[in-house]
Amino acid sequence: MKAMKPDSETELARMVTEADGSLGITGGGTRAIGVCDAVALSIAGLSGVTLHEPGSLTLVAQAGTPVAEIEAALAAEGQRLAFEVPDMRGLLGREGVSTIGGVVAANASGPRRVQGGACRDFLLGVRFVDGMGRIVSNGGRVMKNVTGYDLVKLMAGSHGTLGVLTEVSFKVLPVPETTVTLACSGLDAAGAVAAMSAALGTPYDVNGAAFHDGTTWLRIEGFAPSVAYRSAVLAKDLARFGAWFEVSDPWAGIRDVAAFQGGASDVWRVSLKPSDAPGLLDKANAEDALLDWGGGLVWLRTKPGGDLRVALGDLQGHATLVRAAGDTHKALGTFQPEPAPLVALTRGLRAKFDPRGILNPGRMG
């Protein structure tokens, strides 16, 4: 079967209605993980920023709009997507142009998530086509909205298994005047997590806290006098962990997990309590580890085929297999298996939104 590429929401709805087999939804093809055998349905034809009101901190775009186009439109007004969209092309070895719909489908969020929130926290509204070809709207374009159930959050991170996103709206934020990154060398993972927890527990609005290869980084953003003050008191408050120096901006590399690009190793992404991270590292036997979100997000590079979830054991949280051979994905599952009552709820929702089971089958198990 030939790939499908509708030009409008209406055409997309018709294609889904008339589909006689499974559809593999794709934006720019830059960040999908796991396996899905289906005819490609590209949303790249649904493209363009439909509304940007800087004074209301609001942006609405069609789901196939390139992220770069949105970032440029925002930058022209001194604004940005505050959740720091990761670029997964290097890590996953992909080409292509990342689209905003894919970002939402993956709830993809960078280092600032630890303080400012994830993609889902900035997402104000969605339009999508469900598995029956019906066009559904939920949320809107205003910052406070509790009208009806919040399907916006449900769609974020659903990896195209509940519907095909056609339009998304965001709360956007001003780009701060100044950014400063402080670094400290020589801590081990336990020391780094302790230092990051201490930093995130101060009133200085630390909005990045990461650790890799013996270096711990903290980020402060805001108006210049404020950033100068905060970074100085923070370095002083954290002196017990070592000396803190201002360094050049490492955050794009942390966001994109640049350290794990290339090679044949598997890559896992673990979400857990920050204080559990050092213990996981002790058990994981990984080749390399990158800690973000103050330790709440752990990226691990491991030997091919191994099951990291054994090391995670009973710890609260979950491990996602981000990069591995297809067989490994099939054997271990891309996403962590959930307890029976959650599986029942998830299956129930998918059966309601996509009764024929044609949207991204296999993608989330």
Binding site: S56, E77, V114, G140, V146, Y149, D150, A156, S226, K273
Partner: protein, 479 residues
């Protein structure tokens, strides 16, 4: 407001139901005396009242599960209740329902500063969550104005906001995990001390589902380090347009205050008469608060004042001390009480795009003339969440209906300009029948599909959120 007629078969089940409930709950946790059930006949939307069949006050998740299993088994609807402070009728019972109050479940289960979280039972009040951690320099950010009384259970059900959500977000942005008891008694743990969902974001749809998907008995909440300090500036303008433009310019300039509050002339006059806060007699008043160290506050306020001065304010008062800050906030905090002194009032909660502020305020003024009812506006301007207070006389025949019609017109206007019916109070019964003005039949069908999955018999918090006609087929099929 129509409510479904009570089911006589369920009313007849009362003795049997009480007998079964007493097998799983202590005597003092089952309230079945008709005089005592009256205590649960309404929430803060007092215009609507109906005593429940029975009220229960469980003390543990296991007891909640037992109660729900029994009610599920007997087909009895259940109305979950936190502290009963809903302004939307979210905890209004039906005559054939059981009120399940979580007020006895108010323990702190865990505080974890290293991971910046607290785990509580959901009957705990919002303010006492902050109370449990503030000595150590932390706080729980969502701050609905009822925070002294309202329970976390209700905050989660309604996805409550507050004055400070421009910076800190609403409940859903500060909720990490829940223990949810489903209608059939199944206990589910969703989320926890980590930051994102492992599968579908069920937590995201449970928050704000108005108690219709399950009963949340425990919650893991994000706590934040308290800012070093906070101070407001008060700015008066002689037109709503100019005040709205000032708000927009401040936001565009990259200053992100924790709160931007807006009051219009009727509200300013009422609060002045009531609280004597020393507000200027002007068309529009802004209270803008920023946080940080003393020097940071000075710097941010200077930026705000510079922008405000470009728009020729009639008054500009920068707080220099805690005392001055308190005086600036005094009027705003007593605004509802002040309006209540004049008359009965109905508080609306629509949200609009910030850019539409001047137009919407002008239209509300025109409608006020047409309806012959006074209205004052006090609201969170930074995020467009309006709170028009419509004055009426509850003792005057037909005035409540007139007020409701006026309110409905205001909310329809909010939707028309790109906003929504409710920003932080919830739909409940109050805005139930207006849902068709915001959503298509398919939009609502998708929402009701979620309800079908979590509560297939449609027993939880009946007759709320979805218009009765819209949900009729599903309710009939569930019986």
């Amino acid at each position: 407001m129509d409510m479904p007629a009570p089911n006589p078969a369920l009313l007849a089940l009362k003795p049997k139901l009480v007998e079964r409930l007493l097998k799983v709950l202590p005597r003092d946790a089952v309230i079945d005396d008709e005089a005592e059930t009256r205590a649960y006949e309404c929430d803060a939307l007092t215009a609507y009242r109906c005593p429940p069949l029975v009220a229960v006050l469980p003390s543990t998740t296991q007891e909640v599960s037992d109660v729900l299993r029994i009610c599920h088994d007997m087909g009895v609807p259940v109305v979950p209740r936190g502290s009963g402070t809903s302004l939307a009728g979210g905890a209004l019972p039906t005559a054939d329902s059981v009120i399940l109050g979580v007020a006895r479940m108010n323990d702190v289960l865990e505080t974890d500063y290293a991971n910046r979280l607290i785990r509580v039972q959901t009957g705990r009040t919002n303010l006492s969550v902050t109370g449990a951690v503030e000595a150590d320099g932390f706080f729980y950010a969502p701050d609905p104005s009822s925070q002294l009384a309202c329970a976390i259970a209700g905050n989660i059900a309604m996805n409550s906001g507050g004055a400070h959500c421009l910076k800190y977000g609403v409940t859903t942005n500060n909720l990490l995990g829940v223990t949810l008891v489903q209608m059939d008694g199944t206990v589910v743990e969703i989320g926890g001390g980590y930051m994102d969902a492992g599968g579908l974001d069920l937590l995201g749809v449970i928050c704000g589902s108005e108690g219709q998907l399950g009963v949340v008995t425990e919650a893991t909440l994000r706590i934040l380090p308290k800012p070093e300090g906070a101070r407001p500036v008060l700015i008066g303008y002689d037109s709503n347009e100019v005040a709205g433009q000032c708000v927009s310019d401040i936001i565009k300039a990259g200053v992100l205050p924790v709160a931007i509050e807006f009051m219009d002339r009727p509200c300013i006059r009422a609060t002045e008469a009531f609280a004597k806060a020393g507000y200027p007699d002007c068309e529009a008043l802004l209270i803008i608060e920023v946080e940080g160290s003393e020097a940071e506050i000075d710097d941010q306020l200077a930026r705000i004042v510079e922008i405000a001065n470009r728009h020729n304010p009639v008054e500009l008062r920068e707080s220099k001390s805690a005392d001055e800050s308190a005086r600036i906030w005094l009027g705003r905090k007593s605004a509802f009480g002040a309006m209540g002194q004049i008359n009965d009032y109905m508080c609306l909660d629509g949200t609009i795009p910030v850019s539409q502020l001047p137009y919407v305020l002008r239209r509300i003024g025109e409608m006020s003339q047409q309806y012959g009812l006074g209205v004052g506006n006090v609201f969170h301007a930074g995020d467009g969440n309006m709170h028009p207070l419509i004055l009426f006389d509850a003792n005057k025949l037909g005035d409540l209906e007139l007020c409701e019609a006026f309110g409905a017109d205001i909310l329809k206007l909010c939707v028309e300009v790109g906003g929504c019916l409710t920003g932080e109070h919830g739909v409940g019964i109050e805005k139930r029948d207006l849902m068709i003005d915001q959503f298509s039949a398919i939009d609502m069908d998708a929402q009701m599909a979620v309800k079908d999955v979590f509560d297939p018999k449609w027993l939880l918090n009946p007759a709320k959120v979805f218009p009765l006609e819209t949900s009729a087929a599903r309710r009939a099929a569930a019986e």
